[in-house]
């Protein structure tokens, strides 16, 4: 059964339509990647799912419930957490406070154990727990953004460009962590410009181009496809 069903979703900024009828599904336990160049509408899609943008058409269903017009804070309570583009950690709050806020919708008694689990996953965050999040390196901030979303114990984790602006070696380590998160059974919808890394993590992929899904396939086929190699994967690398 599909956890997330998006049908003919449209989002516009004034006159400009950023999503022109996007349909996709994510099944429980799956990792799905959305690939596309800058301006394809990837971040718009993520913000729309989380309820941060009004929709001009179409529907979003989560576990059979229509959440097209549901408020952002309700959507978190239903089980969708997001690590947003640009990380958006609370810079003048400590690492520990950021993680605790991730569990804002959960019973306060259960939050400390989840925060400890994040420290175990990212020991760097444990060392810096009393530091202001704004003083962390880009990679550490990304770990914090992902960890913060996980403390919400989401059924669906949305990841918007987790590799953005990070050094290759940091990207590798982030994706290793994402692999182990996926292996615990968390359903993930990831948006990435780094198509190769995303497809290695994902089961399936969609290709988004100027507001439309133009292609979808299993991650393996997308990785192998000549067209994809040329457009998104960069031939020279392989």
């Amino acid at each position: 059964m599909s956890l997330l069903v998006i049908a003919d979703l449209r989002v516009a900024y004034g006159q400009i339509e950023a999503l022109k009828g996007v349909s996709l599904t994510v099944a429980a336990g799956e990792v799905v990647a959305i690939l596309g160049a800058n301006g394809a509408g990837k971040t718009t899609l993520m913000r729309a799912i989380s309820g941060l943008l009004p929709k001009t058409g179409g529907t979003i269903g989560f576990e059979g419930t229509d959440i097209t017009r549901t408020n952002a804070d309700r959507i978190v309570r239903l089980g969708i957490a997001q690590s947003p583009e640009g990380r958006r950690v609370f810079g003048t709050l400590t690492v520990a406070e950021n993680l605790k806020l991730g569990g804002f919708t959960r019973p306060p008694r259960e939050v400390p154990a989840s925060v400890e689990a994040i420290y175990a996953m990212f020991p760097r965050l444990a060392e810096r727990r009393a530091q202001f999040a704004g003083t962390l390196s880009g990679g550490e901030q990304q770990m914090l953004a992902i960890g913060r979303a996980l403390v919400a114990k989401p059924k669906l984790l949305l990841l918007d460009e987790p590799s953005l602006g990070l050094a290759p070696i940091i990207i590798q380590s982030i994706f290793r962590s994402l692999r182990s998160i996926a292996d615990t059974g968390v359903t993930i919808l990831i948006v990435e410009q780094n198509a190769r890394a995303a497809l290695k993590l994902a089961d399936r992929g969609y290709v988004l181009e100027v507001g439309r899904i133009i292609h979808q396939d299993s991650a393996g086929s997308l990785l192998a496809s000549g067209q994809m190699q040329e457009a998104y994967l960069g031939r020279a690398a392989s």
Partner: protein, 300 residues
């Protein structure tokens, strides 16, 4: 020596009041990036509500501490309610509009409250009863300290400490700070930002009502344009401390009160404002973001 101690006490009294009112400006600005120009008028509305409670029910005898406490509670509830109403009517419909529209709305709300006070209570200066509190005074190091001063200083300190603990050490307080940093990121945590905004329009005007009533009790008067006078002082205190920063508003209020008192005590009360604001200009030239304001550049 006597003058020095005296001005410290006077400054702390007035500074405590400024700080209570400044917190309302700074909390609303922190979450909404909006200067609530009607805040000073709300505070003075609090003084009038309190005054009505005090005079309306005093049967000539000693009103006493119990009545004063009752007046405070009623005034806090009334002004917090007015604050919530103000946000719903004057600011919420304009949240997505141009920022200038909200400023105009704030100024309009200020005029409406000010004139509303005049319509209800009249344009004359109202005198607060003199028998509210014991006339006890203490003589310390050549200075005279009154009961009212001690009460105001202690109450301001307790309230500021309570607010500080609430904002820094509770779940909802952390949510308020998060919403002040990044509203969308706060929404992604499951925080209902509308509820946070409502809460700052309860806490700010609630503390402001106490500040307004303290002004009435300390100076023993209330008049309908008082909101502008004291609102401006408190607003400047918030800027001095770094607007948006809660400990900054506390520090700014107390410092402004002390400047004021020392200028009045050592130079002349007619030069008090000129000297106070001169100092303020110097401080802001050195630290444009205020004493505790952040110097961080906007992150991309």
């Amino acid at each position: 020596m006597g003058t020095f101690v005296q001005q410290i006490v006077n400054g702390l009294t007035v500074g405590g009041i400024y700080a209570l009112i400044a917190l309302g400006y700074t909390m609303v600005y922190g979450v909404m990036r909006l200067i609530n120009f009607a805040h000073g008028d709300l505070c003075i509305l609090g003084a009038f509500v309190g005054l009505t409670m005090l005079t309306g029910s005093a049967g000539g005898g000693h009103p006493g501490a119990a009545l004063l406490l009752l007046a405070l509670v009623v005034s806090i509830i009334a002004i917090a309610g007015a604050g919530v109403l103000l946000e719903r009517i004057a600011y919420r419909p304009l949240r997505k509009a141009d920022r200038l529209a909200a400023v105009v709305s704030a100024l309009g709300a200020s005029l409406m409250i000010e004139n509303g006070i005049m319509l209800i209570w009249g344009p004359q200066v109202h005198v607060f009863p003199s028998n509210l509190l014991p006339a006890t005074t203490w003589h310390v190091a050549g200075a005279t300290i009154s009961f009212v001063q001690v009460m105001i200083i202690l109450a301001s300190l307790v309230l500021m400490a309570a607010l500080y603990l609430f904002v820094n050490h509770t779940r909802f307080g952390t949510a308020i700070r998060a919403a002040a940093i990044d509203q969308d990121a706060a929404r992604l945590m499951g925080i209902n930002v509308n509820r946070v905004i409502t809460s700052v329009f309860i806490i700010g005007p609630g503390l402001g009502a106490i500040g307004g009533l303290f002004i009435g009790i300390y100076y023993r008067e209330a008049y309908f344009t008082m909101g502008w006078t004291y609102g401006l002082y408190a607003f400047i205190a918030a800027i001095l401390g770094g607007i948006g920063n809660i400990p900054g508003a506390m520090l700014g209020g107390v410092l402004l009160g002390l400047f004021n008192a020392f200028a009045a005590g050592y130079v002349s009360s007619s030069w008090q404002d000129a000297i106070t604001f001169g100092l303020l200009i110097v401080i802001l030239l050195v630290r444009p973001t205020g004493l505790l304001g952040e110097r961080v550049a906007e992150k991309v």
